[in-house]
């Protein structure tokens, strides 16, 4: 595949992620922070997000597995995940966290379990999509091309 074609594929793919609400404008903020002194910024911060999120999801799974659930702790973990997903533009993960926190407050065990499943689903979705996106970018750069920049206007 030649570079122009790869670039168009990348743009279509990125566009679809915004249309589906998987990513929001905050992701563009991240892209705008990459420059010559920090070309891999987006990959770096997203990698940190993956690491941190997986730790939080493990902690959440464990916390909900306890005989006496500590809802304050569960809420604290979800709060963290909400914050970081919001910061990188992972909109659906963020929204799932918001719903989760409401049920934590109600101490609704069943709903919390469902929310955890939902958050995990959204997390793995965005992880998968971003990994695909980064791979496409790598291929373009390896072929000597440059990454087209996205502009969002509402």
């Amino acid at each position: 595949m030649e570079v122009g074609q790869m670039q168009r594929r990348l743009m279509e793919y990125t566009k679809s992620l915004f249309m589906e609400g998987v990513l929001d404008n905050q992701f563009i903020q991240l892209q705008q922070l990459a420059d010559e002194s920090n070309p891999d910024f987006v990959v770096e911060v997203v990698s940190l997000f993956f690491e941190d999120s997986e730790r939080l999801l493990n902690d959440l799974t464990r916390a909900l597995d306890q005989p006496n659930i500590d809802f304050k702790m569960v809420d604290a973990h979800v709060h963290q995940l909400k914050g970081s997903s919001s910061s990188i533009g992972a909109q659906r993960v963020k929204n799932a966290c918001i719903a989760f926190r409401n049920f934590c407050e109600e101490q609704n065990i069943e709903a919390c379990f469902r929310c955890l499943q939902q958050v995990k689903q959204e997390y793995y979705l965005v992880k998968n999509k971003l990994e695909t996106l980064f791979k496409m970018e790598q291929q373009i750069v390896a072929a000597g091309g440059s990454i087209p920049m996205m502009e969002l206007s509402f």
Binding site: Q26, L33, V45, D52, S87, M149
Partner: protein, 183 residues
């Protein structure tokens, strides 16, 4: 409507700055002050979330500022005891001590000239508090709120904060904030 822009450069941003030197990232408060012909504002970021720290730090760097970072209210109080800051960006929800409480302690110091309030909650001052003869200058403290009901603007003001920035923090929000305090 989503527009696509195909540019030949890797980055095409109207706000990108020229960087004649690389700023070393200040992640602790003990970074030595380099001699500078023009004094750069000393900025403290108080934030527990690592991803938020990375994003905010990078935005500040793009605005031409290097910042000190601490992760909770107690560390914020200690940082302020060690060094005078021109601006504090204070996350509200943090473990150990939240931003509202930390702000109250800092304001108490500014009003009284001593750190008695901080000592009452177990924070030993880094320097003897009786040293200040002059009333310390009030430093701008900007809350970073997650828009939760418990982090309303009113509550921030009631606890001594000067203004707030809602999360997620964007380049534009930080830029406007800095323009307000460092015109």
């Amino acid at each position: 409507m989503i527009q696509m822009e195909n540019t030949s450069g890797h980055q095409n941003s109207s706000h990108r700055q020229e960087k004649p030197e690389i700023h070393s990232q200040c992640t602790s408060c003990s970074s030595p002050e380099a001699p500078e012909t023009k004094a750069k504002p000393k900025i403290l970021l108080v934030e527990d979330n690592k991803i938020n720290v990375m994003v905010t730090q990078s935005m500040m760097k793009q605005l031409g500022h290097s910042i000190d970072v601490v992760n909770n209210g107690v560390e914020a109080v200690r940082a302020v005891q060690r060094r005078s800051y021109d601006l504090v960006l204070m996350d509200v929800c943090m473990p150990v001590m939240d931003g509202l409480k930390a702000t109250r302690l800092i304001r108490s110091f500014e009003e009284t000239g001593n750190w008695d309030a901080a000592m009452q909650v177990g924070i030993e001052p880094a320097v003897p508090s009786s040293d200040s003869i002059l009333r310390p200058q009030r430093m701008p403290i900007i809350a970073m709120t997650a828009n939760a009901l418990s982090e309303s603007g009113e509550e921030c003001y009631a606890n001594g904060m000067d203004s707030f920035v809602s999360k997620p923090v964007t380049f534009q929000k930080l830029k406007e904030c800095l323009e307000q305090y460092f015109p």
